[in-house]
Symmetry: C2
Subunit: 219 residues, 2 copies
Amino acid sequence: MSSMDKNISPAVIKRLPRYYRYLGALKAKNITRISSKELSERMKVTASQIRQDLNNFGGFGQQGYGYNVENLYVEIGKILGLDKSNQMIIVGAGNLGQALANYQDFNNNSIGFQVIALFDVNPKLIGITVHGVEVHDIDDMEEFIKNHEIKIAALTLPQDQAPKIAKDLVSWGIKGFWNFAPVDLTLPDSVTVENVHLAESLMTLTYNIHSREDGEGAE
Amino acid sequence: MSSMDKNISPAVIKRLPRYYRYLGALKAKNITRISSKELSERMKVTASQIRQDLNNFGGFGQQGYGYNVENLYVEIGKILGLDKSNQMIIVGAGNLGQALANYQDFNNNSIGFQVIALFDVNPKLIGITVHGVEVHDIDDMEEFIKNHEIKIAALTLPQDQAPKIAKDLVSWGIKGFWNFAPVDLTLPDSVTVENVHLAESLMTLTYNIHSREDGEGAE
DNA sequence: TAGATTGTTAATCGATTAACAATC
DNA sequence: TAGATTGTTAATCGATTAACAATC
């Protein structure tokens, strides 16, 4: 209802955070206005694409002027849901889970994400504190989620455990998964899964490195 | 020359690791053959897409039979460059760098990736060992890369340092970057960059969570 | 006002899906 | 051989780019 989503394509959505990052950088440089043309040169995309993308959400610009940096930054933030509080838990307090808990890039109030608990089965980890956040017993997770009305869970646990725990988490109210386990989660349509498949990302890198080596003398 | 790359689209390349993962799982279940139709049902893509994708690289199947799982697994591994040794270094031995050094998913010989050194400026980190891999002084990086003929570097360092260090690394022989810094690296065309922008991935997650909430009653 | 730049429609391009002849 | 399933061409669909009238 609020944003009368006329089914925005995933390709557009994936580009929004990058616009947001560039606008943040412009803001930090005290640049107050920018045209789609100049932004397109900085970002190495077409000005057409920028205007098309933004116009999915409303007319943020002004003819003859361009876009107000501060305003556009705020608007894209709202579109992405960064104005809401986004508390999350991390399930699996191993190296990756702890790294995410420590990660300053998003884990600060200015962007609005906040890790409020880690969970693990390992008694050696339960009770320790990572970046001021406590590792809890995974058996206490249901109650914690319900008490704190958590909607987002990062999954940084072994592949074989991820599907079952994800299913439980959905029944306890989790609406979005940030999934680092190398497995595809099959969950109801009302639930969102954002995969970060690190091993797969690394494989596309090696593909590109090797294919460039081979194609050196290409036309 | 070797693979006479007829310019495979990035969309196809990004799907290959997922095929590889599914074939590995089939192999582990001792399934020896699979048709594009059955694989398409498991992976929730069209059989057409699977056949089109694979045929960019050669006729791996057999009419009336389907694909041999073991063979296809090996072939896709070769396409991705997993048969070659892929030694890499991690630049930035903070939480994320250490987590990657520890990450078992790719950091084992069976897939062919191997982290052989971490680098940092922090004297407190230099000399420690993470998952059997030593953290070196970043001043020793040039010599190390040249001695070991390293081609791949993971960048897990602060955003403001990434562009300069990436430039240096290129001059020392690095061909591919696995970039975790929230910045776009501008480098020569001969160099490959695979970005893992965690904060941006998390933002698309919140977008989807919130837009589903709003659109609940949509047709 | 004249100049600049948006918002938006139309044209192009590329990727996905469907269909089917080839063939194991 | 008959049945199954690929490899590949053709049709469709969606996303990107170009163009330009609207308008600040």
